[in-house]
Amino acid sequence: MVIYREEYRLYDFGPGHPFSPVRLEMLTSLLKALGVWREPLAPPEATREEVLTVHSERLVKRVEAASRGELYPDLPEYGLGTGDTPVFPGMDRAARILVGGTLEGARRILAGERRVLQLGGGLHHAQYDRASGFCVYNDLSVAIRHLVRSGLRVAYLDLDVHHGDGVQWIHYEEREVLTLSLHESGRYLFPGTGQVYELGRGEGLGRKLNLPLEPFAEDEGYLEVFEGLVPWALRAFRPDVLVVQAGADAHFLDPLADLLLTTRAYERLFRRVLEYAEAYAGGRVLFTLGGGYSLDAAVRVWALLYHLFHGLPLPGRLPEGWREHWEARLGQPLTPTLHDPEGAYPEVPRRREIAAYNRRTLERLMELAAPHLLH
């Protein structure tokens, strides 16, 4: 089941901002041009009360006021009105619509649906008391909380190139939520957290796992540590459902980060995630989108996800008409095929060293987490 509605595009920080609704417009028009678009389920927007299951009243109040053009003087303390997360008219409702989509996904899972793809959301930086990094409300945590309150154990997998800090902190002390985030190390990239020793607190100890990766990590090295970590943790945790933030910004074309994945790695990642959901989570999986700031790359990565999600054969070339339209509109060339061409970026001289370092990070993480996770 796919969840989407046109109003997702109201979540718009304005021209020039990387978290652009054009990404959704390009994606849905591509899927239509490919003839694979099926009518999605239009979710209701989340209510204020639903947002308050994971956010503070004082944050929500400020977002609501800013939506009406009333600006509290202390907005920056709440991560609002900054360069990254500026305020705009109607932002409260725009954010609640995205939350509503992910929450509807959770409801559908509880109603017996096995696979849900929410074509939006993934606002993993939003914290209890502050907006952060393009994220106003945390749709993932609202959905996860709903699943947990309904008695499910939730494994959250964050593929975005940035650490999934908001989701991690909101559920930091919870036993029923496993968070797994693979990201470019906070030593180099926003938000700076996500080191191996952030393992959770209290009942949540050993159930918050972070694999920070060296800049310029590539397909093979990434997949090796991914396949080393994820099934190991899922087997130990035995979730009832997998929630996946499928950010596309670990792609080598991404202008905001420094990992070097190609679409071939994403294909294998998504196939693995679907297999892991079958093997360890009763087949139940809820995908959201996330970061991804190269329009060219993000749209192809998510088109790939859409096809694999539905078990459709992958197209080779993308429809000419679609590509010409968007090249003219964006004023930039687009990759003509779903997959990246071979040898799309220059060879990385430190490849072996980077892969070895990441392997060592995985070992350290597993050593630290094993005593808490395995028993």
Binding site: P18, P76, G79, T82, G83, D84, H125, S132, G133, F134, H162, D165, G186, R187, Y188, L189, F190, P191, G192, T193, P215, F252, L253, P255, L256, A257, D258, A344, Y345, P346
Partner: protein, 208 residues
């Protein structure tokens, strides 16, 4: 950052007549390593777990001292101390130069706290750590007046908030500045800085 910002208090102390075995039990039970020795309200020495272990070891050249020995016989004296208003780096320098693990903190002769190597590590973590969601810039600056101002001025002009700034001399005439800023878009900032002639080490320019 001052000593009073990182010191611990209240401080556990012993008297000079306290037997070694009692002092040892105290260290063990409280999970600490240092005990100021106080007599008549004055700090007269410091005894550490190492002092106790060496004094009571059967490997000691003079033979092990009995557990009933008063700590006054093995403590270091006179004690080296700090003032709450000393900068932490001054305390660190004294501890490094004298190779000691703690300084009792005195104010007008009164014991008000203690600072140990662990507290200095906390200070280091606080100075270099990530306390807010932020991105990182690393820039090499010529070591001359106005260069850091040019960098921070550029960031201010872009409406970027600086969460922390660490700089250290790298080689002759070059200072390295590590800046944590409240934005995901550090690549964009780096591009702008390079256009202004800055030598940006991180984030890198992509060749594609």
């Amino acid at each position: 950052m001052l000593v009073k910002d990182v010191m611990r208090h209240p401080v556990l102390t012993v008297g000079p007549e306290t037997p070694l075995e009692a002092a040892y039990r105290l260290l063990l039970e409280r999970g600490i390593r240092h005990l100021p020795v106080v007599e008549g309200g004055r700090v007269v020495g410091v005894v550490t777990d190492r002092d106790l272990r060496l004094a009571t070891s059967h490997l000691h050249p003079g033979g092990p001292r009995p557990g009933t020995t008063p700590v006054a016989e093995v403590m270091a004296r006179p004690p080296l101390t700090a003032h709450p208003l000393d900068p932490v780096e001054e305390a660190a320098r004294l501890m490094r130069e004298r190779k000691i693990g703690c300084l009792p903190v005195l104010e007008e002769g009164r014991l008000v706290g203690i600072i140990t190597g662990i507290d200095l590590l906390d200070a280091l973590l606080k100075l270099t750590g990530v306390t807010e969601p932020s991105g990182r810039l690393e820039v090499r600056l010529p070591d001359r007046p106005g260069e850091l101002a040019r960098l921070t001025g550029f960031l201010a002009g872009r409406g970027v908030n600086i969460h922390s700034l660490l700089s250290y001399p790298e080689e002759e005439d070059v200072v390295r500045a590590v800046v944590r800023v409240n934005t995901l878009e550090t690549h964009l900032l780096a591009e702008g800085l390079r256009q202004e002639g800055f030598d940006v080490l991180w984030p890198p320019k992509k060749p594609w």
